[in-house]
């Protein structure tokens, strides 16, 4: 428990080693070794710490490393407080779980990317691992941070690493643009977050989570009014929206797919994007005191989930489908927190991390096999060539769809159950989204692994037509591609491990209805409630459905999931021609949708035409309003920048130069008087004398 500060430090050291020395001296193997060792060490330490935590009676441990910002006097709502921020890490159930997730999945992804990135040139390879380790360092700092400022350090750090990793193949303009877009949008989120931090300090006089929670617990719940705490929650939520890609700040996530697949897996599926949920969870006490905000969070979560899912239906690029599914699942998590089921949200976060990482890595190996081909329409019947990837991705798909034995079912069902208790409308939306999730995941599976092979021929033909991404910019694709093949051991092993995780992870949160102890909930409970109000808050459940009703609900959701899968099966396996026909019918919409999502016409038989039009509506909203707005502000700033530059150059400078010119022009008038004729000057003097004398006379005699 004492060494928790070492957990983030190890990857930090790994990153430093790779960064400073690696880029020039390390070979590929040593760099990979350093990176994976660092991650392994962190994983071990987190496991040890986690076990200690389970053992410990009081499930919380604060380690203050050093005084980062020493205390300086500052006025707060309650008189003169001291603004200080120590480097302090806190281990409690929530952060314990998170470090496990981060280090666990992180290490697996490290191993996976050793193989995945091997045909990168040495410099790029080392740089990649350095960035990956740096990312884990920041993520762990974020998770373990005991006060808002240290969390903010991690928060921005991950933003930086996502920028670096998305823009890893910087020679591609689209990659660097995506990176920049991601960072700027995150920054907009951070803008809200930092203001939130200041408001927290101003109201509570401290930034430490535990202290804030205790102070907040004492304050009245702002029922119906939008008080200070609601404002704090709103600002913090803006940060979360930015980071976890909820409406409206989710636009960067689909573009973030430009980065290498392990990056997408680690950052844009498992860890970084969940930071928002973690932050909301960490400040659960604040949010519980602002029911208005809880509702907003829930609504946004639900809407994002639905919207992302509809767009996911149409995508043909395998990674974009997963990206939209991530956004959708995050929507679920926020929905859970919104309805007060913080534990469920966290539980879903953990399970999602497993199966989403699994799916991404699976898609990575598929892309790897198909020589960087990401378009599902050019795949098909991959199960013949890649049995292991097919099996693991199958498990992942079943998990995410929410099929009973797998983890996805338990966590998603818990969220659906708690949403049903709180707000039936949201529950409806959630269920529909769950159905869509099942559908598009199944579609993905069927298009890639079933049906006949639609990919390009190989063997003597040499280099297949370039995939969507010109892979490995520096080293041109050296060896010729000879057909899809199963990925090497180093890639399939992490897949199998994750698949196992996806299956097992569910069992720690089996709901009471199914006879499970729902241990995860009780485990995480203490970190969501303020210390003092431990006892009273804990078991409180307003409406407690009978077990039978709960089972009914579960059955319904499973039924819907199976329906989704069956629908996908009918469309993409038994009668693949039907999907082409559908695409032809709605050519216009289809073409529009395929840009961002596709029409699920069969789904329409159960009268979901509303979803179809809402999908298209959302798409236009998405394309014109949201993206439009972002680009618009870009253009606007450039225009106003140009104007201020012009004003600066001509108006302010103009005045200065004008004074100079006036003097020179004025002087010409007087120069003409200098005729050079000496006698003229004599006449001038004489005139002077004359004037003087007349003046004298005037004064003397007439004055």
């Amino acid at each position: 428990m004492e060494l928790i500060w070492l957990i983030p430090l190890l990857p930090g050291i790994g990153a430093a080693l790779n960064g400073v020395f690696g880029v020039r001296y390390f070979s590929k193997q040593t760099a990979a070794a350093v990176a994976c060792a660092a991650m392994g060490g962190a994983l071990l330490l987190s496991i040890v710490a986690f076990v200690e935590l389970l053992g410990a009676e009081h499930r919380e441990h604060l380690v203050e490393l050093a005084q980062w910002i020493p205390p300086i006097a500052l006025e707060t709502a309650s008189g003169i407080g001291a603004f200080e921020a120590p480097w302090a890490f806190r281990l409690d159930p929530l952060s314990g779980m998170m470090i496990l997730v981060v280090t666990g999945i992180g290490s697996l992804i490290h191993v996976y990317s050793v193989a995945y990135m091997d045909h990168e040139p040495r410099g790029g390879y080392v740089r990649f691992f350095c960035y990956l380790n740096l990312f884990c360092f920041f993520m762990l700092t974020l998770v373990l941070g005991s006060n808002l400022l240290v969390m903010f350090v991690g928060w921005e750090g991950v933003g930086l690493c996502s920028y670096l990793l998305i823009g890893f193949w910087y020679h591609k303009k689209s990659a660097s643009d995506a990176g920049k877009k991601a960072f700027v949008v995150n920054r907009i989120g951070d803008f809200g977050f930092i203001l939130g931090i200041f408001l927290v300090f101003f109201t509570f006089g401290t930034l430490d989570f535990r202290a804030v929670a205790e102070a907040a617990a004492g304050m009245p719940v702002e029922e119906g009014t939008f008080g200070v705490i609601s404002l704090i929650c709103l600002l913090l939520f803006i940060g979360a929206v930015g980071k976890s890609a909820q409406i409206p700040l989710y636009v960067w996530l689909p573009d973030a797919m430009e980065g290498p697949t392990p990056v997408s897996a680690l950052i844009h599926a498992a860890t970084m994007v969940t930071a928002g949920v973690y932050m909301v969870g960490r400040n659960a006490v604040l949010f519980t005191h602002a029911p208005e905000m809880m509702l907003i969070v829930a609504v946004i979560g639900a809407l994002t989930a639905l919207m992302a899912a509809t767009i996911g239906l149409v995508q043909t690029d395998i990674k974009r489908v997963l990206a939209y599914s991530t956004v959708s699942q995050l929507g679920y998590m926020f929905l859970a927190t919104g309805v007060g089921a913080f534990a469920a949200g966290a539980f879903h976060l953990m399970t999602h991390a497993f199966f989403k990482a699994l799916l991404f890595l699976g898609s990575g190996s598929v892309i790897h096999a198909m020589n960087e081909e990401q378009d599902m329409r050019k795949m098909g019947n991959m199960k013949a060539y890649m049995p292991v990837t097919f099996a693991t991705m199958g498990i992942g798909t079943l998990a995410i769809a929410g099929i009973p034995p797998f983890s996805g079912f338990f966590s998603k069902d818990e969220i659906l159950y708690r949403t049903f208790l709180d707000n039936t409308w949201l529950w409806g939306l959630a269920v529909v989204t769950a159905g869509m999730t099942a559908f598009y995941m199944a579609r993905l599976m069927f298009m890639t692994f079933y049906g006949e092979y639609r990919g390009p021929s190989w063997g003597a033909a040499g280099h297949a037509d370039g995939g969507q991404e010109a892979h490995g910019g520096q080293g041109a694709h050296a060896h010729a591609w000879h057909g899809p093949h199963e990925s090497p051991r180093l890639m399939t092993a992490p897949l199998q491990a994750l698949a196992a995780g996806a299956v097992i992870a569910g069992f720690i949160g089996v709901p009471a209805a199914l006879g499970g102890g729902n241990r995860i909930e009780h485990f995480l409970e203490p970190s969501f409630v303020a210390e003092a109000a431990h006892a009273e808050e804990g078991g409180h459940e307003e409406a407690h459905l009978s077990h039978a009703a709960e089972l009914g609900l579960m059955g319904l959701s499973v039924l819907i999931a199976l329906g989704g899968i069956a629908l996908a099966h009918r469309l993409y396996v038994r009668r693949p021609d039907e999907s082409e026909r559908l695409a032809a019918d709605f050519a216009g919409a289809h073409r529009v949708l395929t840009n961002k999502y596709y029409v699920d016409e069969l789904y329409d038989a159960t009268a979901v035409k509303g979803t179809m039009s809402s999908a298209r509506g959302l798409w236009t909203v998405d394309r014109n309003v949201v993206d439009g707005a972002v680009n618009g502000t870009g253009w606007l700033t450039r225009a106003s920048a140009w104007v201020s530059d012009v004003v600066d150059k001509y108006v302010v400078d103009g005045l200065v130069n004008l004074v100079g010119r006036i003097c020179t022009e004025g002087s010409y008038a007087f120069r003409r008087a200098q005729t050079g004729l000496i006698q003229n000057y004599a006449v001038a003097t004489l005139f002077g004398v004359f004037a003087f004398v007349t003046f004298y006379i005037a004064v003397r005699y007439f004055g």
Partner: protein, 171 residues
């Protein structure tokens, strides 16, 4: 009475010669008129009981300076008439008018003020004979005005050197 006659004749002579100096086209003639003018002025000094000055006037002015002018006139023998080219922007007319006006005004003032103030006539007994004008002047010059005298001598020295340097042909 004699003095009045002398004054008026000399005045007319001096003014006439002055006008002659200024108006004659030929330079040498105007130099001669200048000499005569200086001589008349010398005589006027004698009338005014300033013999030493009269002699100095003749010796320095007529004897020295005008000779210098003559020399220069001769050295500067022009190919073309000196006053051929006239610059249109000259204000000669204005000059003429202004100087005339100034003269009138001064004369006016003098006449007006002298008219009113008691006319200080010439001192009755011409102080002369015993202590010569030269001796008095000498005393005054070498006692009260010694420094200006020395300064004047330095000035003359400088003028000599200046004139030599200026007029010397670059060897």
């Amino acid at each position: 009475m004699a003095e009045a006659i002398a004054f008026y004749t000399l005045a007319v002579l001096i003014l006439g010669l002055g006008v002659a100096v200024v108006t004659t086209p030929k330079t040498v003639h105007s130099v001669l008129f200048l000499v005569l003018n200086f001589l008349c002025v010398a005589i006027l000094y004698v009338v005014l009981r300033a013999e030493f000055l009269a002699v100095i006037q003749v010796l320095v002015y007529a004897g020295g300076i005008v000779v210098l002018y003559l020399f220069v006139v001769m050295l500067v023998n022009l190919k073309r008439a000196p006053e051929a080219h006239e610059d249109p922007r000259r204000l000669a007319r204005l000059g003429l008018g202004l100087s005339g006006a100034v003269l009138l005004e001064l004369a006016g003032i003098v006449v007006y003020s002298y008219g009113r103030a008691a006319p200080s006539s010439a001192p009755a007994a011409p102080v002369e004979g015993i202590v010569g004008n030269t001796e008095e002047l000498g005393w005054l010059l070498y006692t009260d005005y010694l420094i200006p005298f020395e300064v004047a001598s330095v000035l003359l020295l400088v003028a000599m050197v200046g004139a030599i340097v200026l007029a010397r042909r670059e060897s």
